[in-house]
Symmetry: C2
């Protein structure tokens, strides 16, 4: 094969994404033993990806040298998640063929690129029936929702799960996966002028109840939830991506032997929790991080989880996240490519962008 | 047998222990089927016992009618823990003989009495070699320490455990049981004028290091603990009976996959914990309550734990708590008996009494 051109969004030091990110075009050699070359189809810009570029996230990308670079010219390739199509496989690679779709099993694989060379061990085949948008966003948020619903508390059909930040990507996945399992969800969001619209949207996804954090201070409502909705037992699984006092209030809805599982801290405030539920109600407060799960679970576990999620997708029970696609064209010079990424970073950093942005990077010609 | 006289410390409604507690003399009938009569030897006044009388503790004593009372005259008998000697057994009771010592397996057994009739299922034989003081205080604090050291994290010889409130009865048991297992303890206490004496006392029990909460704000020291003392790994088990900011600071000493186990909240302040260790370091925050353990574990489990503790006692590895004995004499009228208990309550409610008070109630003659 000829060496094809590729382009990646890279940085040599962490910092403000609107300034440290640049684009670099390089040539991709034929696959080395144990590797395959892929063309990236779509790669999301997740909030954590931005934190990685900022250098404030525990997962750091590995320094790498792109093929055309001088050996000393090491850099980071941005992007953690995405779906890619196999274009070439090394002769020793079995089980994957040209044209197959793959997703990344290795965190921080550097997916903000038009083409990459990846190790067979770092990818997993994904059926095309998943669809490009689903496949590009299937390795972080839906597994986080799935595992939080499954790995802490044994829940039976009809049991409630309570969560805050219910409009987040994970929150929406929780609503849908819970509904598919016959679980009820009690969903909390910030109060806002368009609350009825948001509540309708989440109910259309399968949310049982949608309330605001303000409702958590309504003692009569809390009593109704505890006594009537949960038959006096309280809720055994709480999911938190907010922190602060709204989470303290949400904790009051938990019953005996409950788990409060945190996967985010959007308020940037710590968790403040009374001690007595830990001692007398056997409350457990813990966290969930998909990257840790990936590191501590086998390829078989990952395949099994992906199969479960694809089944839900194919059955129409897990909808695509709301998204927009940002295309970096084949004709764009590197400077233009970099500016497009910096511009969208600038918008995303303002927060509440509402839609998932997916990069569609074409290889330079 | 003749009906012997007994006296119990009782209350008909919860409230201020210096006013709601009274003493009542009653006659004890021969043991009913499945029961035994016992003479209480020693029964401690634990902080939780006071909270039960106050009505602010989740465990409530059961209403009972003492034998001489009118059927409508129901009351609570105070006291949860104690050691008693068997004086009579029902003819259908096997495995216990007159003269044997027993401890209570049922919480809130009403041990502040000179003699009681108890169900065989609610007691456990304890060898006399344990000694009266140990036997009277063996069902709450030492098992709490033992189970917190064993049931959450697998620790290897040489590993550190960190705790606050290290001078508490549980804290001292933690130090000794950990030392017997070859574990190191990092013990935090309030700063105080006699800190060197307290540190010496705890080190004599086997404490590896004794520091004050103020030391937790010393960044250089925290770095030394994390890097040198624990070889960069941090500590995997933290035990908390304090809460508040000192616990937030103590949490910084924990490493990956650590448990922070709370069994008290002496500061009366909530736990305030950043979210990131939960997500990225897999921190688990939970609680421990011996009454729950007792309710959810078998008689065999309890016997096995008691045997382990008695073995430590006999080996000289678990010392008696510092204590004083308050005797309610056989000749004391009920009013005098009640006043003695109210007076000691008044002193204990001021806090920091320092010694465990053990009731030695003689039956009225």
């Amino acid at each position: 094969m000829l060496r094809g051109l590729s382009r990646a969004i890279v940085y040599t030091q962490t910092g403000d994404p609107t300034s440290v990110l640049s684009a670099r075009t390089f040539s991709l050699p034929p696959p080395a033993p144990g590797t395959l070359n892929v063309k990236l189809l779509l790669a999301p810009i997740n909030p954590a990806d931005i934190n990685v570029v900022q250098g404030v996230y525990p997962a750091r990308p590995s320094l790498e040298a792109l093929p055309d670079s001088a050996p000393t010219d090491q850099l980071f390739v941005a992007g953690n998640e995405g779906v890619a199509q196999v274009t070439h496989v090394a002769s020793d690679v079995a089980g994957l063929n040209v044209g197959d779709w793959v997703i990344m099993t290795k965190p921080q694989s550097g997916t903000w690129a038009s083409a990459r060379q990846l190790r067979l061990d770092d990818v997993l085949k994904i059926p095309r029936e998943a669809g490009e948008v689903h496949a590009a966003t299937i390795t972080v948020n839906p597994p986080t929702a799935w595992n939080m619903l499954n790995n802490f508390v044994h829940l039976n059909e009809g049991d409630f799960v309570v969560q805050n930040g219910a409009n987040s990507a994970v929150g929406q996945a929780v609503i849908q996966i819970a509904a598919a399992r016959g679980l009820k969800t009690l969903n909390f969001v910030r109060n806002r002028p368009d609350f009825p619209d948001l509540a309708s949207k989440l109910k259309a996804l399968g949310a049982t109840e949608v309330l605001t954090y303000d409702d958590l201070t309504d003692r009569a409502l809390v009593k109704t939830i505890m006594q009537d909705w949960t038959a006096g037992k309280g809720i055994r699984l709480g999911l938190n991506c907010v922190g602060g006092k709204d989470t303290t209030n949400m904790m009051r809805l938990l019953g005996e032997d409950a788990f409060l599982v945190s996967y985010g801290a959007m308020s940037r405030e710590p968790l403040t929790l009374p001690t007595s539920p830990f001692i007398f109600s056997n409350l457990t407060c813990t966290g969930y991080w998909q990257a840790r799960w990936s590191k501590t679970h086998s390829r078989e576990d990952k395949e099994s989880l992906m199969k479960s999620l694809v089944d839900l997708i194919v059955a129409g029970k897990l909808k695509e996240p709301e998204h927009e696609i940002l295309t970096i064209g084949a004709q764009d010079p590197d400077e233009v490519a970099a500016q497009k990424v910096r511009d969208i970073m600038s918008k995303l950093l303002k927060g509440q962008y509402g839609k998932k942005v997916l990069l569609n990077m074409e290889s330079p010609v």
